[in-house]
């Protein structure tokens, strides 16, 4: 009876066709790209900021949690309705509100798909720089929540470097403005603070972003190695030489063979690793840098360096990289992808550590990562139907991330903490540091109505994380197709 009441009230706000409540409809919203799962009570499709303001007020009255959701491509459980409640799905708030070339800005609703914005900007000679591998599906609202990266963030920065203004709805229904068109303004940079807050502060309803000129020239190089350590050494050498490519990606031999079996991207099957290196800028600069990079690759024992001859070949090389996770999905019942970050000088030893973990736990681990900024994505293959193997997988993942922390790194470079890495937050941050973050969350979201039990661990979680014999356990599910 009560349940019917809420659905009815939601329909009065957003319209009769914009609320889902039947179990078979809700099932589709139990997942994201992570291993987590959780069933919402309702899925609502707001169309305006005002709708959202009214929905959060209703939710507060009914004591229901609100979980914002873009395309559900997230990799850390950020959009999972962990404690039931209402999923706020942004599929119908997908309009580009303004393209403002004189100010080099665009303003979008949160449901706009990342690549759709770049496509809309292309006729003007601009694009939106953050390019997560899921960019064909993921939304800019989701990018803001997770502070998403992507291969080209090496040169252009992550989402926060491109957001100048936000309209947000607070859990009490108040609609407020943070920042705007100007690159900065006096007062606290709440815009910057909001980006990457994983839906735990407020709900973004309009987003103003910087737009970036399309490069004049692009060169894409494929450096091929017989030894994965040699590829790692190239990464160190390129960074030390002060060369900043637009992108610098690594795939190890196992991963590239899996990719080749799915997409024929042109990675040589007998190699131990490849580096995908992209250079962008003025024609003259790109040509010179391509020479320089090729030379450095050879000096650090690349077997061969190829340059994509045309746009088709270039796109194919990138297709291999961007669809890699999907390719793994073809050959393994499940996989677990990590998102650790390390200083770039530590790439070689971290690869050795991952090999060691793979042997220790008897698990296949593929390596694919944004080598240029030290952001690793080890892929651990397992069968989720095997509980013991699942436990081993989680333990292996944890050991890799603990290693990242031990060399001065981080547990997540772009996927977010979500539900998945909450207990590791207790390892990365002290109680006091977490308490400062909780205080700040409470300025926006004091009753944790928005995205409860995400990102910040409870004090209890931290105590349990350090209890003997503890393993982080989330219900494992099937892999998602095409991800970062």
């Amino acid at each position: 009876m009560f349940s019917f009441g809420v659905a009815h009230k939601l329909r009065k706000i957003v319209g009769g066709d914009a609320v889902l409540e039947r179990p078979e409809d809700l099932m589709l919203y139990e997942y994201d790209g992570s291993l987590a799962r959780g069933a919402p009570k309702y899925v609502v499709f707001p169309q305006t900021t005002q709708h959202i303001s009214e929905i959060v007020k209703l939710a507060a009255r009914e004591g229901l949690a609100i979980v914002p959701r873009g395309a559900g491509t997230g990799l850390s459980g950020g959009s999972i309705a962990r404690s039931g409640g209402i999923i706020l799905a942004f599929a119908r708030m997908n309009r580009i509100l303004d393209i403002d070339i004189p100010n080099l800005r665009a303003t979008v609703q949160p449901g706009v798909v990342n690549l759709d914005l770049s496509n809309a900007l292309a006729p003007y000679g601009f694009y939106f720089a953050p390019d997560p591998s899921s960019q064909k599906a993921c939304t800019i609202g989701g990018n803001v929540a997770e502070n998403s990266g992507g291969p080209h963030t090496l040169a252009y920065g992550v989402t926060v470097n491109h957001v100048t203004g936000l309209e947000i709805v607070l859990p009490d229904g108040r609609i407020v403005q943070l920042g705007g068109t100007a690159a900065s303004s006096a007062g606290y940079d709440l815009t910057g603070f909001f980006v990457g807050s994983e839906g735990t502060l407020a709900i973004a309803t309009a987003i103003t972003v910087k737009i970036t000129r399309l490069p004049e020239a692009v060169a894409t190089l494929l450096a091929i190695y017989d030894d994965v350590q040699a590829a790692a050494n190239t990464v160190v050498a390129l960074t030390a030489a002060g060369i900043t490519p637009a992108a610098l990606e690594m795939l190890d031999g196992w991963t590239l063979r899996a990719v080749e079996a799915s997409v024929h991207a042109g990675y040589p099957l007998d190699s131990a690793a490849v580096l995908l290196i992209e250079l962008e800028g003025l024609r003259e600069a790109v040509d010179e840098q391509a020479e320089l990079v090729s030379e450095l690759c050879r000096k650090t024992r690349a077997r061969e360096v190829r340059r994509a001859a045309d746009e088709t070949e270039r796109q194919l090389l990138w297709k291999g990289r961007k669809t890699a996770f999907g390719a793994i999905g073809r050959i393994s019942p499940s996989y677990y992808v990590q998102d650790g970050v390390i200083p770039r000088t530590r790439v070689p030893e971290t690869l050795r550590k991952i090999e060691e973990v793979s042997r220790k736990y008897s698990l296949t681990i593929g390596n694919i990562f944004h080598a240029g900024d030290g952001n690793l994505h080890p892929l651990i293959l397992f069968d989720a139907r095997d509980a013991e193997q699942t436990q081993r997988t989680l333990a292996a993942g944890r050991e890799i991330l603990e290693f990242c922390i031990s060399v001065g790194g981080s547990i997540t470079g772009e996927h977010g903490v979500g539900m998945e890495k909450q207990d590791l937050m207790c390892t990365l941050f002290t109680d006091s540091e977490l308490e400062v973050m909780r205080r700040l969350r409470n300025c926006f979201n004091p009753d944790s109505l928005l995205n409860p039990q995400k990102m910040l661990p409870s004090m209890r979680t931290c105590r349990e994380a350090f209890a003997p014999g503890h393993h982080s356990v989330e219900a494992p599910v099937a892999p998602a197709a095409e991800l970062r």
Partner: protein
Amino acid sequence: MNQGTIVQRDLGSRFENLLGPAVVLTDTTDLQRYAIDSVVPRLVLQPESTEQIAAALRVCTEENWTVVPFGKGTRQHIGRMPDQVDVALSTEKLNHIESYDPGDLTISLQAGVSLAHAVAACAEHRQLLPIEAPEGTTIGGALSTSSAGPLRAAFGGLRDFCIGVNFISGDGMNGRGGGRVVKNVAGYDLMKLMIGSHGSLAIITSANFKLFPSPQQTITFVCEFASLGEGLALRDSLLRSPLSPLACEIVSPSAIEYLSESEPHDPDEWAPEPSTQNTAAWQLMIRFAGSDRVLARLRHELAASVSRELSGAGETDLWNQVGTFEERLLKHHRNAMIFQVELPLADSRSAIQAAESSATDYNFVAAITGRATVGSLIVAFLPLAIDPPAVTQFVSAASDFRSRLSKASSAVVMRCPREAKQHFDVWGSIPTDIELMQKVKRALDPQGILNRGRFLVA
């Protein structure tokens, strides 16, 4: 012995007992050096560790003693006048480079490290920490005041390359955001909160930065225009071209003389000539980095607009002069009122025109420089009369100028005579919700002891 002296002694002995005598300064001449707008602190603390800072802040919160975080004081002129300062908390003993990993292009610096020291350490490895601030500024001071200069065109602001921060909240809690790696989304981005918070939330104790390879060679093109419109038209065509300048500065005709190396006039005996703008030129100074081939192409493409090309020592001097524009102005005009204006790019022209009109209407001359491709201007109102200008003249001019700016812009008065400062709000209006800012302030500084009364957010 009056009441004040007794309290003074209490304060001193309280901290001497807590932190040891080496940390506490009570000598009057020492205290003078830490005055804020002539308000002398009752006590100066020079803690040697973050633990000491936390202990001191806990006591101050408990006793409701106000605290001014202090680096080298190069930017303390910003903000409202404090009513009273109990404690100036200096970071000068936190002056170590904690770690520098040239191979990873990252550096960790304690808050009291001088920017010049950090920049020099990076330069040894041909790496660049692109923070620009007045001579002597500390890392903590640069972060708190969100210091930036012409290089912002290429490298962005501090928010774009500060990758981690450690701080102590007003009530003495350890806080941290980010880390030492260049990509990191674990936890809230507290760097963004600290940058530009003007010491109102916490005491920054250290911070980590991403570095950039130093450009191997650079050139600067100076382009002169009869009108502002022509200068901005070149700026616009640059923004739409594939060319990426290291810096692109717009300079008004009246600002140019302050960039040259002349001896300052006696500020009490001298005033600028009334408007000479009709004859003099606007300048766009555009700096590029690149190889010989790249620079040759730029030279070719920009040939029609370029009046002068600079490289080597002449170029370095020019950019030093642009970077120290504010200090240079003050040598000539101790009564100058200087705004930092942040605005949408397309509002540049109207904002500059507004500055010129408001200045003229209230007997000032406007001298303007700014990051033309970023939307950040330094606007100086120079008093015309030899007699000290009336307070109302500053107040009215500031209010008039602000009223002519678009809603999306903000204009903070960075400097003006102390007498005028008391009669208007140096911060002005901002686009962001103030109520949320107030909540954030209370969350990190519950008693409101940090820079009380000075910042935009109380």
